[in-house]
């Protein structure tokens, strides 16, 4: 689980860093206007918030990748072990058929 978490958090962290550097180099955050008002008043704040916004976007993307990676087989499979499946389920196996 920890490693799956790494797979989601880490690539998005790297991309967020690059995206933040590129974005803030091209645009001075103090010059970003929202309805005529400066959106943010401190550059350090903008860089930090920007980094986390990019990171969140990356996390969303990586998490979706992980989510869609599950194969059809994994989705179709019954999560219950054979002995605990409900009465009448064709895949139920209480051990009575055997021997």
């Amino acid at each position: 689980m920890l490693q799956r978490l790494i797979h989601i958090l880490w690539p998005s962290f790297l991309v967020a860093g690059v995206a933040d550097i590129l974005f803030t180099t091209l645009f001075d955050p103090l010059e970003i206007l929202y309805r005529g008002e400066p959106l943010i008043e401190q550059r350090l704040a903008a860089y930090t918030v920007g980094f986390f916004v990019f990171w969140l976007l990356g996390i969303a993307s990586s998490a979706m990748t992980c989510y869609f990676q599950r194969s059809a087989d994994e989705i179709n499979r019954c999560p219950l072990p054979p002995r605990k499946r409900p009465e009448g389920c064709p895949k139920r196996d209480d051990g009575s058929n055997c021997c």
Partner: protein
């Protein structure tokens, strides 16, 4: 795992474990040539890292990436966001050097200079100082929580966190003036953003060097994954030489191993015990191997004790192990198309980079056209275009500039004053109008060039092109 999740016999497992459970690796300390190299590199890199932000240059911090002011100072040079191309150049140079080093001698970077290795090394020094050697640490790991364990672990974490905090503080000191930062830090007056990044970086250092360790190399590092494309059969790698080691096995020191049909490997497992990523190098080259050569040092110690020749595990190439040429031929094989191409590219880009840096003009001018009217006619029947020049003095001295323009016969430049002055790192706006006689104007729009020269330094001048519109 609970019983229910355990794969029942003849059943497919309900839920497969996606990854192996990580076992904490307690490495045995090792001494030798390569361990000394690593200690030396840890000291050098950290001396630079912790020391550099404190260096002064003409009454300011010598190296400061002043994010709040959007200016980067590197000794005598000042960079602006418009100089982004230099950063790109620097990254290309770094990447090419990495390719070259990797092609020649494998993962030198990982083994000796990567921050992950360096901080893990430092954190392990603290660990073995406070908790004892690998045997004592394993015992402590297994022991239940008691006063002794609490004391040892607590002390370790305090020491680790102090180190990490200093690292985080230094990191932020590269981006905001470190002297003021130090004053704010000791007086608890840090701004929220600085404080956040100091603790964030400290936390990352503490986690990566204290807990994640080899997992960072195995699961998080992109370089470890693609290193093999930069290797070839003549690349120096940490290699176990099967031909002299096998068949391995324990024996007494007095045994004539050759007569007994054994190789020189005594199967003591020291190479595994010292490995920071917990692999067995005797299984061949693996992507987990960070090329730290701890196994070489460990094995050489054992070989010395046994009175066998050193080098059962050594830096050598695939072709040597295959018997294509002896170890003495390695040097000759360093020169090969791959390394020559990398070197030529590296030299070319480095020269271009240095040339461009040396001839860099500390002046930047942007032209903005007046948006209200493209052109207007004056009372004298001349055509006038209005512009705004945005001039940045990128030097650390005040300069005076004159503005001229060319491109049309008899073109007049009208500014408020004959010369403008800009303080160091100052950006000034200069309204300028260009006036031309309609008889000299051929076409709807004509290319014109502004020439901006410093009157006190003939080396500082720049040209910037724009358009002049007819009626």
């Amino acid at each position: 795992m609970t019983d229910e999740n355990k794969p029942a016999s003849a059943e497919t497992p309900i839920e497969q474990q996606l990854y192996a459970i990580r076992q904490t690796i307690q490495t045995r300390a090792v001494h030798g040539v390569f361990a000394n190299w690593r200690v030396a590199l840890v000291l050098i890199t950290q001396l630079v890292y912790y020391g550099l932000p404190w260096l002064q240059w003409e009454n300011r911090q010598a190296v400061l990436f002043d994010l709040a002011a959007r200016k980067f100072y590197i000794f005598g040079l000042v960079f602006w966001p418009q100089d982004f191309v230099y950063l790109t150049g620097l990254l290309i140079l770094a990447a090419l050097s990495l390719f070259l080093f990797t092609a020649v001698a494998g993962r030198l970077w990982c083994g000796y200079a990567c921050p992950q290795t360096v901080y893990t090394e430092i954190f392990m020094w603290v660990e073995s100082w406070l908790e004892g050697d690998h045997v004592a640490r394993k015992k402590l790991d297994a022991s239940p929580w008691n006063a002794n364990k609490l004391k040892k672990r607590g002390l370790k974490h305090v020491a680790w966190f102090a180190l990490a905090l200093w690292t985080g503080f230094t990191f932020v000191g590269y981006f905001t003036p470190i002297k003021e930062l130090a004053v704010e830090f000791v007086s608890f007056g840090l701004g929220p953003w600085e404080a956040f990044w100091i603790f964030f970086y400290a936390f990352a250092t503490w986690g990566n060097a204290g807990f994640m360790r080899e997992q960072v190399c195995k699961y998080m590092c992109p370089y470890a994954r693609f290193q093999s494309v930069m290797f070839d059969s003549d690349t120096l790698t940490v290699t176990y030489d099967n031909s002299i080691g096998e068949p391995r096995g324990p024996r007494s020191k007095k045994t004539d191993y050759k007569a007994a049909g054994l190789g020189t490997c005594v199967d003591c497992n020291v190479c595994v015990q010292v490995c920071p990523t917990g692999i067995d190098i005797r299984n061949g080259l693996q992507y987990e191997c960070i090329g730290c050569a701890a196994c070489i040092d460990g094995c050489d110690q054992i070989m010395d004790k046994m009175g066998y020749p050193r080098g059962l595990i050594r830096y050598t190439t695939e072709n040597v192990v295959k018997g294509k040429y002896p170890d003495s031929g390695i040097l000759k094989h360093i020169l090969r198309p791959r390394t020559i191409i990398y070197t030529v590219l590296l030299t070319a880009i480095a020269s271009a980079f240095l040339y461009s840096l040396a001839t860099r003009v500390p002046l930047r001018v942007d032209v903005v056209r007046d948006r209200v009217a493209l052109s207007k006619e004056t009372d004298e029947g001349m055509i006038e275009n209005v512009y705004r020049l945005q001039l940045i003095n990128k030097d650390d001295q005040t300069h005076r500039y004159t503005i001229q323009a060319e491109g049309i016969n008899g073109l007049q430049v009208v500014t408020a004053s004959r010369e403008v002055s800009a303080a160091p790192l100052q950006t000034i706006d200069i309204p300028v109008s260009l006036i031309a006689d309609p008889v000299d104007l051929k076409g709807r729009s004509i290319e014109v060039t502004f020439n901006i020269r410093s009157t006190d330094d003939p080396g500082i001048h720049t040209e910037v092109g724009t358009k002049f519109f007819n009626r």
